[in-house]
């Protein structure tokens, strides 16, 4: 131990990570409601509109609905409840 010293760890205490399963996937999106969530970052609305058009052209059997949270960066339980009520899948973007 000669010449050795002991020092304290400078890091904080991380929370325990609890595993969560992914939601069951849909076998096919045909005839399903797919929510396209515009997360409100600058130009995300243009991206989501292009995504909507892509589905209309390539997978017209998918019903797409663009939806927006009440503000950026924060959760919107009301919007999630609307999606969970009648949606089958979701795409959210564009995160910067």
């Amino acid at each position: 131990m000669a010449g050795k010293i002991t020092v304290l760890d400078p890091r904080g205490y991380p929370p325990k990570v609890v595993g969560k399963r992914l939601a069951n996937r849909v076998e096919s999106l045909d005839g399903k409601v797919l929510y396209l969530i515009d997360c409100l970052f600058d130009n995300a609305d243009v991206f989501m509109e292009q995504l909507r058009l892509w589905f209309a052209e390539h997978l017209p059997a998918v019903e797409t609905r663009i939806i927006r949270p009440r503000e950026s960066w924060v959760d919107d339980p009301d919007m999630r409840a609307r999606i969970a009520a009648d949606g089958h899948a979701a795409i959210i973007g564009v995160g910067l």
């Binding site: 010449g3 050795k4 010293i5 002991t6 020092v7 304290l8 760890d9 400078p10 890091r11 904080g12 205490y13 991380p14 929370p15 325990k16 990570v17 609890v18 595993g19 969560k20 399963r21 992914l22 939601a23 069951n24 996937r25 849909v26 096919s28 999106l29 929510y35 997360c39 409100l40 970052f41 600058d42 130009n43 995300a44 243009v46 991206f47 509109e49 292009q50 058009l53 892509w54 390539h58 927006r68 949270p69 009440r70 503000e71 950026s72 960066w73 924060v74 959760d75 999630r80 999606i83 969970a84 949606g87 089958h88 899948a89 979701a90 795409i91 959210i92 564009v94 995160g95 910067l96």
Partner: protein, 444 residues
């Protein structure tokens, strides 16, 4: 990202899309949420400023992370059956030990650098003796929980106690008598190492009797490296922010594109005795005898000037309208400037109101801003004033860009010149019923 994971928990298969520079961050966020196999998909950076046809090309092109067709990744992410790994997620405990393995000073210094626990300037190694001495700076128990910090709102928050703050205070070279100030900063819940792409800093202003007790500088060079307390308190806040929140590592827990020199240290005291006006902390409801530290989230821009000279109004208007208006100005002025404004008939409040009244831009310039669009527009569209009126304004209509309550004035400096600065800085909002932010005396 958090929204996508919450939807997964609600039973909705969800694909979050980010630009490729956020790939490591997305992976880390998914893992910390217990869903390491979340179906993240990526498009090239940037999205901002790209035309509809350019964004369509992103959609029809390849995911720059997986190198596979982007839409194939998206569709498979929503439809491909789950694996065992998807079904169980990831559960694990992480711990940070109290003590590191004994080693030589040289090896420990290297370890701290390799682990990104420093600001790459020399540190004082936090031995037990040094930390114990630092803890004598407070009467509070070492294991008392101080608070939680995180790099940004959607990341997990890490918790810390007084001893952990003391460890970082030692590393920064602070003295025990500074510890109550540093604890108040740590308890603010505001990180001095925000991971936002806008390279923020936190600028701290100390008021009240403790300024004199610990010998802070509010004279010549108040904002510069000319005082032990100013320098090391600010540095301690920066170091503790990065280490107690779970890191500040570029590409992972730090995404500020330019970085910010105020992320090294940014703390100064107000020259209350030489100011003609009430001190900052009294403006925010504290007693003059309270010792406080006000943590301003900002540091994004700085404008400077002299005066007030004959054309000061034009100069102020240029500075105010040249700000990035999602971050209001903290106006720092030498006592010479403050007294000259008094001679012109202004109180602090009337000068603030003049600034708010005259900081005006055409609406199209106000709204043509990445963060005004992202952060303010949703409130405007929802009818929240004053943003809704700004949103309804015609493109060339002049609109006010700040409310009086957004603007703060602090007086400091050595009276060698009538100088002022306008520094990006938002005073922290106090939640109803919550303890006041920044009261130092509770940490003595």
């Amino acid at each position: 990202m958090g929204l996508a994971l919450a939807l997964e928990e609600q039973g909705i298969p969800t694909v979050p899309i980010s630009t490729h520079v956020f790939a490591r961050l997305a992976k880390a966020t998914s893992l910390a949420a217990g869903m390491p196999t979340a179906r993240n998909c990526f498009v090239p950076q940037p999205v901002v400023g790209r035309t509809a046809s350019e964004l369509r090309a992103y959609i029809e092109g390849a995911d720059p992370v997986s190198r596979r067709p982007f839409m194939q990744e998206v569709l498979e992410g929503l439809t491909q059956p789950l694996t065992d790994e998807d079904l169980k997620g990831a559960t694990f405990e992480r711990s940070t030990p109290r003590l590191l393995e004994p080693d030589t000073e040289d090896n420990l210094r290297q370890l701290f650098i390799e682990q990104n626990w420093t600001d790459f300037l020399p540190i004082v190694l936090p031995t037990e003796e040094r930390v114990e001495a630092m803890l004598r700076g407070t009467s509070q128990a070492a294991d008392r929980i101080v608070g939680r910090l995180r790099p940004t709102s959607f990341r997990e928050a890490w918790e810390f106690d007084i001893e952990k703050v003391a460890v970082n205070a030692v590393m920064a070279g602070a003295r025990p008598e500074y510890l109550p100030v540093i604890l108040a900063m740590a308890a603010s819940g505001i990180s001095a190492r925000s991971s936002s792409t806008t390279s923020w800093a936190s600028i701290s202003v100390v008021n009240g009797p403790i300024r004199e007790e610990i010998g802070m500088n509010s004279g010549v060079g108040a904002l510069g490296p000319y005082n032990h307390a100013n320098a090391t308190i600010g540095r301690a806040y920066c170091l503790l922010s990065q280490n107690l929140q779970g890191g500040s590592v570029p590409g992972d827990t730090y995404m500020g594109t330019l970085g910010n020199n105020w992320n090294y240290t940014a703390c100064f005291a107000e020259a209350e005795e030489r100011s003609p006006w009430s001190p900052l902390h009294v403006d925010h409801g504290f007693r003059p005898t309270d010792s406080t530290v006000s943590v301003f989230f900002g540091g994004w821009y700085t404008h400077s000037g002299f005066g007030p000279r004959e054309t000061w109004k034009e100069k102020f208007i240029r500075c105010l309208t040249a700000t990035d208006h999602f971050s209001p100005p903290l106006i720092v002025m030498d006592p010479l400037v403050a007294r000259a404004f008094v001679d012109l008939g202004y109180s602090k409040q009337s000068l603030i109101e003049w600034c708010a009244e005259n900081a005006r831009l055409p609406a199209r310039q106000y709204w043509d801003d990445q963060w005004i669009t992202t952060l303010i527009k949703p409130h405007a569209v929802a009818g929240v004033e004053p943003f809704a009126s700004r949103w309804k304004a015609a493109p060339d209509e002049m609109i006010s860009i700040f409310r009086p309550e957004d603007i703060n004035i602090v007086v400091t400096g050595g009276e060698t010149q009538g100088a002022f600065k306008m520094i990006s800085g938002r005073y922290p909002a106090r939640r109803p019923g919550a303890e006041p932010i920044g009261l130092i005396d509770v940490w003595r």
